[in-house]
């Protein structure tokens, strides 16, 4: 059962309303004449709803940079001979992420867990707490190569404030209508009392049911192994020759890590001003595929070879993160696969391992 029904133009009005209080981040079309189709979508800051393009299929990168940015100051410090003062820095700008697909919502749910597993990372939660998430469901696979259904991430039941389901265009016009589900009180308050949205009638309910059924049919499995069996599969594959065979192509460029919505490893660095003793400590995205990720003083590298790093990433995504956090560690968005200029493909890896086994 849908909670509300809303038309596109009304949704845009409501987003503009939100924009008065929050920064809006959502899919923006960028023209790329060399590509087919000649457009790619990116999550970007916008000022008005009409800058968004909610008809987007997928965004090249996930919205993770708005929750844990590529680089962020942890704290600023001042020091003199007598000691130091450190002031942690938090970004609490009210924000709304609009148009987040189920896979990325799952990834954010993972972050919500891992940044608060044994220790709570206030820098993440400062942003997260100030962020409203308006999801956008996918009626079908957004692009080739995704395996979100395998990872159970093509549907999101929670992790959003409100979720939009594009039911299709009106019978009388050409305007998109969305069914809406509330995920939180904030989402409910945003929509419920606005005159722009309506309670669903019987037709709407039927349309929503049909939407769900069509969606179910539109997604297929890409892996030969069920997600539940990946742990077992990988358990048997630690010594497979596939790691070396595949990794001879690996540049160790880290594109897979950095474009992955569930990767959250980081490095920490200090920086001081030229003249004074003040400065800052900041963190930035890191990745387990990068050559020096496990390097320590004395030049010992605990994962010196691309093959060991590739294996580590795959195990982490498929098994280890979930073991620890209880939330699936890969959402099947295939961004890693698309980002890899060596065309190393995780679906292929899983399937080849399954074949070997």
């Amino acid at each position: 059962m849908a909670d509300r029904i809303i038309r596109h133009s009304d949704l845009m009005k409501l987003v503009d309303e939100v924009a008065r209080k929050r920064r809006i981040i959502g899919p923006v079309a960028r023209s790329v004449p060399e590509c087919e189709p000649p457009v790619r979508y990116f999550y970007e800051d916008v000022e008005r709803a009409d800058q968004l393009d909610l008809s987007f299929r997928y965004c090249v990168y996930s919205p993770k940079r708005f929750l844990t940015p590529p680089s962020e100051t942890l704290f600023a410090f001042d020091q003199d001979d007598g000691g130091f003062v450190a002031a942690p820095q938090y970004d609490r700008r009210p924000t709304a992420l609009v148009g987040v697909h189920p896979c990325d919502i799952h990834a954010i749910r993972l972050y919500d867990r891992v940044f608060d597993l044994e220790h709570r990372d206030e820098h993440y939660f400062a942003r997260r707490g100030a962020t409203m998430i308006i999801g956008m469901d996918c009626p079908g696979p957004c692009t080739d190569g995704v395996f979100c259904k395998d990872m159970g991430a093509n549907v999101a039941e929670a992790g959003f404030d409100a979720m939009l389901y594009p039911l299709g265009t009106d019978t009388d016009g050409d305007e998109m209508r969305y069914a809406v589900m509330f995920g939180t009180k904030a989402g409910r308050e945003w929509l419920l009392y606005s005159r722009q949205s309506a309670a669903p009638n019987a037709d709407d309910e039927r349309a929503f049911e049909k939407y769900q059924a069509d969606k179910e049919a539109a997604f297929s499995f890409a892996l030969r192994t069920r997600r539940e069996d990946l742990a077992e599969l990988l358990g048997r594959s630690y010594d497979s020759l596939l790691w070396d065979a595949t990794a001879r192509r690996c540049y160790s460029c880290g594109s897979c890590n950095l474009s992955c919505p569930t990767c959250y490893c980081f490095d920490i660095t200090d920086e001081t001003d030229l003249a004074s003793g003040s400065g800052r400590r900041w963190r930035e995205w890191d990745g387990c595929h990068l050559p020096e990720f496990a390097l320590v003083a004395g030049d010992h590298n605990f994962r010196p070879k691309a093959a060991s790093r590739l294996r580590h990433r795959i195990y982490r995504k498929a098994v280890w993160i979930q073991e620890r956090s209880g939330v699936v560690g890969c959402v099947g968005c295939a961004r890693c696969d698309r980002a890899c200029t060596a065309k190393i493909n995780s679906v292929e890896i899983y399937n080849q391992l399954a074949e070997e086994a």
Partner: protein, 285 residues
């Protein structure tokens, strides 16, 4: 009562902001190792467990994980033994009495002292491994009546690398510990034993496999050989402790650097049981 303004409160609550501590004593132990004694302002104890570590900050340079090498039974201060190997450790070596450092922690999982109570204890330390071992050694000695027999084996490559020389004299003379030390490559002055640390196992009496707990702390190769000696004496895998070093940044199980297969050295360790490590293919490679 002092009032704490909001930014200070935030700083205290923040995972990444170090607390300031004062260096109250500095002792250059060898060319490479310095022993710092530090204390928090107002005498607050570190409240650690033997085997735990802290993240030491030199602001503007960086942070690095260092084991606490003194025992929590001596709560007025805590000690750090730091080998100069790189950027942060080089700056730690420049600290003087009165310098202020940043401390986060205690972090990680140390030795389960409750489990050790009432048991015979064997500690095998190689090289810099004596640093984390020392907090346990001191603990056992300070709480001597809680433990059964106490054996301590320590090996280094050359006499010049011996750490805690004052302690060594103390331990050698103490009736509380059966202490043996060896060097791989003796020099002219060296009067003690020579050979790798595993040769010291000959000095041990028969160990009771059900009543003995073992801690082996040192470089991976030494660990491998020592563990064989211990297993040969039928000590169960879960009675053997060791400590892992990995690259660490956050120290609290988020940044990913110290992961060893599916465990985090900073959170699930650095002290592990051998039984647990055995399953970790990356741990002993």
């Amino acid at each position: 009562m002092t009032t704490v303004d909001s930014s200070e409160r935030e700083a205290r609550a923040d995972l990444y902001v170090p607390m300031s501590a004062q260096v109250v004593d500095v002792q250059q132990m060898t060319d490479l190792e310095v022993l710092l004694r530090a204390a928090f302002d107002g005498g607050r104890p570190l409240d650690h467990c033997p085997g735990q570590f802290v993240q030491v900050s030199v602001l503007g340079v960086g942070e690095c994980p260092i084991s606490v090498c003194s025992s929590p039974t001596r709560p007025d201060y805590f000690e750090l033994c730091v080998r100069r190997v790189g950027e942060v450790t080089a700056h730690i070596h420049r600290l003087e009495k009165g310098s202020v450092i940043g401390i986060r922690g205690p972090l990680g999982r140390g030795f389960d002292v409750a489990e050790l109570h009432g048991k015979d204890i064997l500690i095998v330390a190689g090289g810099l491994g004596i640093a984390p071992a020392r907090s346990l050694i001191q603990y056992v000695l300070d709480e001597r009546q809680q433990f059964g027999a106490f054996h301590l084996l320590y090996g280094v490559r050359s006499p010049a690398e011996l750490l805690y020389r004052d302690d060594l004299t103390l331990w050698r003379e103490s009736p509380d510990v059966n202490f043996h030390v060896t060097v791989d490559r003796p020099d002219e002055q060296w009067r003690g034993r020579s050979g790798v640390v595993t040769t010291l196992f000959r000095e041990l009496p028969q160990l009771d496999p059900t009543e003995t707990m073992v801690a082996i702390i040192g470089p991976p190769l030494m660990f491998k050989f020592a563990v064989l000696e211990v297993l040969a004496r039928r000590i169960p895998q879960n009675s053997i402790y060791c400590s892992l070093e990995r690259r660490m940044k956050c120290g609290v199980g988020i940044c990913g650097h110290c992961q060893v297969n599916n465990v985090y050295a900073c959170l699930d360790g650095p002290v592990f049981k051998y039984g647990q490590l055995k399953a970790l293919r990356e741990a002993l490679e």
